[in-house]
């Protein structure tokens, strides 16, 4: 099956063409639109599963194939983490490029071409399952959610196109293909946010959904500018965009690259692209407005998959980031800042989707924090668990919204538990998961990130402290949403209340599946510390599978001694050992960083007491948020309303999102418009003026010359004769 890897993104693309084309032609009735779209998505899921099963069964067959057709197939070497690449199409045979010699090997020409390469390794496999699995579930859910809407073919076609692009992104074997997917999902995001393009979604500012889509698109363009610069710098430095070749080039001369300013610059530029796509500070502002799109879109694109592309990209480029502590530090700080800031904003929203949107931004911040402190596996794990519980939360909110007269305002909900038990229970399970109750998935991933932040060589206690603070707020705002939506008295208008009922099974079924996932998927990656506490040893299957792909490889010169202790001259980059080696080396050096620097990924070895303390602390954090929310919103008369006047200022600050939109308006948008106005004036006055001047000159000379065209033939004869005399004079002179 592996040789048909390229069919995975092609299946939803075919769905897009069929649904979109036939739908536009009016040849496809509604049920068939839905069936085709779901089938296309499910097909890619089946193909992905088949490919991964094949992949897991070993790559021996493929290795023989690669030997026979080296142009088409490539398989990683025996000692490397398993990786299979297929190049179904040549793409851009660009020819020679001049490398600037920034890699210390001199200025030289190198052949460069971009091919349409798809690659599969365990990281991609995880992403494939998340995208196709959750994507298919959300396709199914959409059948119920979109029931009765006009022109569904547009919606389903875009969803399929999104699937195709997201799969291209995660399957990409080089940066160019990744960028195609990167831009493609951005396009679909734009199209789907503006799906109800005429509808006003923000009554305060009068913005339409189309405006929200535009905001998302433009904000992402800003990030993509940085991303593209990073790509071009990579090209000029290494002469390749192929992930495996890049990793090999960097790991191959680890000592040269470690701490390189160039790599730090590239890393920060690529991360800037990720701040746009993954809604980090400073470019997160588009995501809350992206809630203008239909709720399944919010669940699929703006929670589960597309926005995590930045995290995936960081993990994919982990070789680069491992060699640039500076870039990783930036990632960690930005992630932590985002987590805290978005959590504060989420506490004061009344729009249920905005609460979830800020929650998403905050959770993405956690993922970035994890990537920034070197816990790539934990970051990806959080990506997976988040995909489950946040998709479930969004779809649950969609279920509520659809039944409550299409309003997002939580002040018009209340007591919905009575009418919508399935939605309530699934929503509650997901809330418990995101808030970090012990056996549920959120605890496993989020608290693993926090523990790593505290113990990793690249982490710090300050980042951990803020991360924990954000966790309290997470618990608070989620339970606030639960209380406002499902508990207490119903505040809906009467005509809505009369029709309140549970959503159809096609929606609740998906909710149940996702809730089970949100509860159970965490068991795939029980953190080592936790499992050791309960005496199980390391049962972290997820880490076992994923770690080799994102592990730090290569080593700085001189750090061999740091590893030396027990392993002797063991190859330093060997995955899985690095952590132990570094931990032991760290221990032998009195918890100091190993002399080789931080390239060796590793943690301070936490004591059992510290791990137990963190475990308890996680529960306390969860409980604090829960009790606060219960105290403020749980009672029959919410105390929050009573408190409101005293906290009016703070509430306003948070509700208006720290006035960040206003700040951007003043700092960026207005100056930008001013500059644009200036250049418009230059264009209209000077550039157009020059053109108009030449036109005016021509016209004026014409006006003068036309005086000679009197229409009287004898005058022409006069000029003719004058000319003749002149020529005669010149000849006779």
């Amino acid at each position: 099956m592996l040789t048909y890897l390229w069919l995975i993104p092609l299946a939803p693309l075919a769905g897009f063409l069929l649904v979109g084309g036939l739908g536009m032609a009016g040849r496809l009735r509604e049920p068939w639109v839905q069936r085709l779209a779901v089938a296309a998505s499910a097909a890619s899921f089946v193909l992905a599963v088949a490919a991964i099963v094949d992949f897991a069964g070993g790559l021996d067959d493929e290795r023989a194939l690669a030997a026979a057709q080296p142009d088409r197939y490539e398989v990683s070497a025996a000692g490397e983490p398993a990786r299979f690449e297929i190049t179904p199409l040549r793409w851009m045979p660009i020819g020679d490029v001049t490398l600037r010699g920034w890699d210390g090997q001199g200025v030289r020409r190198a052949a460069f071409g971009v091919n349409w390469t798809f690659a599969l390794d365990t990281l991609t496999a995880v992403m494939l399952l998340v995208v196709t699995g959750i994507g298919t579930l959300i396709h199914i859910y959409s059948i119920g959610y979109m029931a009765g809407e006009q022109g569904q073919h547009r919606f389903f076609a875009y969803l399929n196109l999104f699937m195709a692009m997201m799969l291209t992104l995660v399957l990409a074997g080089n940066l160019a293909v990744l960028f195609v997917g990167w831009e493609g999902v951005g396009l679909c995001s734009y199209l789907l946010i503006g799906y109800y393009y005429r509808q006003v979604f923000d009554k305060e500012s009068g913005l339409t959904c189309a405006d929200a889509g535009r905001k998302a698109f433009i904000t992402n363009r800003i990030g993509d500018f940085g991303f593209l610069l990073g790509m071009l710098l990579l090209l000029l430095s290494f002469g390749t965009w192929d992930f495996s070749e890049l990793a090999a080039a960097i790991n191959g001369s680890s000592a040269y690259w470690y701490g390189s300013v160039l790599l730090t610059g590239i890393g920060v530029l690529l991360f800037f692209g990720a701040t746009g796509k993954s809604a980090q500070v400073p470019l997160y502002v588009w995501l809350p407005d992206a809630m203008a799109g239909p709720t399944p879109v919010s669940a699929l694109i703006h929670a589960a998959t597309m926005v995590t592309a930045g995290v995936y990209m960081l993990a994919r480029m982990s070789a680069l980031y491992w060699h640039s502590p500076g870039a990783m530090f930036v990632v960690a700080v930005v992630g932590c800042l985002t987590a805290v800031l978005a959590a504060t904003m989420g506490m004061a929203q009344y729009d249920i989707k905005k609460v979830l949107a800020y929650s998403t931004v905050s959770q993405l911040g956690y993922m970035m924090l994890g990537a920034g402190v070197g816990a790539f596996v934990a970051a990806i794990f959080h990506l997976v668990t988040h995909a489950f519980f946040k998709a479930c939360l969004f779809l649950g909110s969609g279920s509520v919204i659809a039944r409550c007269g299409h309003t997002n305002d939580m002040r018009l909900y209340g007591g919905l538990k009575r009418w919508m038990p399935t939605t309530y229970w699934t929503f509650l399970v997901s809330t418990l998961a995101i808030a970090g109750l012990f056996p549920l998935s959120g605890f496993m991933s989020k608290d693993e990130i926090l523990a790593r932040t505290l113990f990793s060589f690249r982490g710090s206690a300050v980042l951990w402290l803020f991360g924990t603070l954000a966790a309290v707020m997470t618990s608070f705002y989620m339970f606030r949403a639960v209380y406002m939506t499902f508990h207490g008295e119903n505040r809906s208008p009467d005509h809505v209340r009369e029709h309140l009922r549970e959503s159809p099974p096609v929606m609740t079924g998906v909710l149940v599946v996702l809730a089970i996932g949100a509860a159970g998927v965490g068991l795939l990656g029980v953190p080592e510390g936790v499992s050791r506490l309960v005496g199980l040893g390391n049962v972290n299957w997820f880490e076992h599978v994923l770690h080799p792909v994102v592990a730090a490889r290569g080593v700085v010169a001189g750090s061999a001694e740091a590893h030396g202790g027990e392993h002797g001259a063991a190859p330093a980059g060997e995955a899985g050992h690095g952590e132990h080696a570094a931990a032991q080396a760290g221990a032998s050096h009195g918890e100091a960083a190993p002399p080789g620097g931080y390239l060796v990924e590793g943690m301070h070895h936490p004591s059992v007491a510290a791990e137990a303390g963190l475990f308890v602390l996680a529960f306390v954090v969860f409980l604090t948020g829960f009790l606060l929310a219960r105290w403020a919103y749980g009672g029959p008369e919410p105390r929050a309303e009573a408190l409101a006047p005293r906290l009016a200022y703070l509430r306003r600050l948070l509700h208006r999102k720290w006035f960040v939109d206003e700040l951007y308006d003043r700092l960026v948008i207005r100056p930008y418009y001013a500059v644009a106005d200036f250049f418009a004036a230059v264009d209209q006055r000077i550039v157009d003026g020059a053109v108009n001047l030449s036109a005016a000159t021509a016209e004026l000379s014409g006006q003068v010359l036309k005086l000679f065209g009197t229409g009287i033939v004898r005058h022409y004869a006069l000029w003719f004769m004058a000319g003749a005399v002149l020529i005669a004079w010149m000849m006779m002179r």
Partner: protein
């Protein structure tokens, strides 16, 4: 030998006297054509001018061409012009010509042209040419050149004449049909 010198030195032959008389009459006749307001008088001036020039051709030993000049110009062309004048019953041109400025400019340009062309003529002393070849100006000589060296221009001109004839017929006839 320049003109002035010839007069002063008294080397005035009968040809000289004839040339001078013919030249003066030709210029006077030309001025009548250009200046007189009546087209009929102008046509008479034109025929006088043509005849004088025919006389000068005789002085130049171009007897055949002199004959052509009389037959075609003084005969055919002027008769045609006179015929048209009569046909249209043209009256003398009304007063109030084209204005002083163009006329003055034209006169000035004319003088300038004479000056430009005439100055080298006065300064240039051509070598005295001998008597003409015995067959100069005969029909035989001109005819031979016309049908050998100048055959193709001759053909072209005959075509031009043909097309002019057709054109003239068409132009003049179209209005008659109305």
């Amino acid at each position: 030998m320049s003109l002035v010198a010839g007069v002063v030195l008294g080397a005035i032959s009968i040809q000289w006297v004839a040339f001078l008389v013919l030249a003066v009459v030709a210029i006077a006749a030309a001025l009548v054509v250009v200046l007189h307001r009546s087209p009929v008088v102008g046509a008479m001036g034109l025929v006088t001018n043509f005849l004088c020039i025919a006389g000068i051709y005789v002085l130049l030993n171009a007897y055949f061409f002199a004959a052509l000049q009389v037959i075609i110009y003084a005969g055919a062309v002027v008769v045609l012009i006179t015929f048209v004048i009569m046909l249209l019953n043209l009256q003398p041109e009304a007063k109030g010509g084209p204005g002083v400025v163009p006329v003055a400019l034209a006169a000035l340009l004319g003088l300038a042209l004479i000056a430009v062309v005439g100055r080298p003529l006065l300064e240039y002393a051509a070598p005295e040419a001998g008597p003409p070849a015995p067959d100069f100006g005969t029909v035989a000589q001109v005819g031979e050149a016309l049908f050998t060296v100048y055959f193709y221009p001759f053909l072209a001109v005959s075509l031009a004449l043909l097309s002019a004839m057709v054109g003239a017929v068409l132009l003049a006839k179209r209005r008659l049909e109305d």
